[in-house]
Amino acid sequence: MSELSERVLRGDHRAIARMISYSEDGDPRAAEEMKLLHPHAGNAYVIGVTGVMGAGKSTLICELAREFRSRGKKVGVVAVDPTSPFTGGALLGDRIRMNELVSDPDIFIRSMGTRGMLGGIASAVFDAVEILDASGKDIVIVETVGVGQAEVDVIKVADTTMVVLVPGLGDSIQTIKAGIMEIADIFVVNKADRPGIERAVAEIESLLDLVQVPGQRRIPIIQTVARDRKGVPELVNEVEKHLSHLKGTDIFEKRRRVRYEAELVEIIRKKLMNLIFDETVFREKVDTLLDRIQERKLDPYSAADEILSNVLK
């Protein structure tokens, strides 16, 4: 066991934070440490929180964390925000809504930028979840903005996924249903004190009617006003009910298997990407290939084959 991993297992926040950075940066130390941590993980319950922008996800997570703490659970939070594809920079502001939690030694919050395709956000999130898990957190909450393939991938890490909506979306519930609606285990309608709440709930109900299989668990809709902590204990009860539902069947183990498959695929993808796009080799080679493509002496498909044949030989 390395010194760093040992500190992570003891729950040392600095060590946890440093390990997550290694993983985000693709530092070779990350893989070595993750190998040491894996046997110690698997005990945390992972909750995914996704939904439209401005739905109040961060505030809701703050209150969820508080509720779990009051039930004696240690909590980790991973909040993912988009990185600008143009500058590579990111403004990570989810903590603004979670300030009250920061002095609690049994809560760890980490903000992450998506860092574009090559960065492989999914694998950094998987690692962060496993690090927090190994460090002794009982609950790990992952927050993402519910758009885009990468974020749907990220949510595969969760045992329970909440989709957070707000009243007044109207027909846009129809438009976000593809991809996002399918992954919900619990629907949360936040800001339930706003006008249009009945209609929002009715719309989700009617969507659920369409997909409901007789005899199977119906996806619950929980109304919350996170700002006032309303509905949050009920929401946590619902998470616990979902957990016992999963544990009562083989779905729990199946889901974990999906998670590890996603993780495995992601690690392989990242390794291949790094191999192919290795700056020093790739840059040199790609420039000469691009010259030929531009002069129409070579087509992009053949160029891709040429690069890949170098990697896969």
């Binding site: 530092d27 920079g89 903590r95 300030n99 980490r110």
Partner: protein, 131 residues
């Protein structure tokens, strides 16, 4: 993957003026950094705990209330106490020339008063952050 510069931008104390902090935060983001912004009314403990959890390379403090001598040094002391002395700490706000030497002595590497340009701040961080 190159290591990204991670910066915490924080407003300690009871000062409610965060336009400057937000403008700096955006400029740092546009320079390709990951900026964690925590909002107003932070205690020294909140700032240092956030710096630890986010594993930042830089802490940027903004204060316009005049309490910088107390609040900036509180953060600097607590960072040291927690073994975070490898973090680059910079500060901005209405800071009289006369206070600068003492803040520097306390460990604040960059101090940006009224009139400092965002380019200056970005450049200072890029040049002084530890890789």
């Amino acid at each position: 993957m190159a290591k990204k510069i991670r910066v915490l931008v924080a407003k300690p104390g009871l000062d409610g003026h965060d336009r400057g902090a937000k403008i700096v935060a955006r400029a740092l983001r546009d320079a390709g950094m990951e900026v964690i912004y925590t909002g107003l009314h932070q205690t020294a403990d909140m700032i240092v705990q956030t710096a630890i959890q986010e594993d930042v390379d830089v802490v940027g403090l903004s204060l316009l209330s005049g309490a910088h001598m107390t609040l900036f040094t509180d953060v600097l002391d607590l960072l040291k106490q927690k073994g975070m002395d490898d973090v680059l700490v910079v500060g901005g706000g209405i800071i009289p020339e006369g206070d600068v030497p003492e803040l520097r002595k306390a460990g604040m590497k960059g101090i940006f008063g009224p009139g400092a340009s965002v380019e200056e701040i970005v450049q200072f961080i890029q040049e002084n952050v530890k890789g």
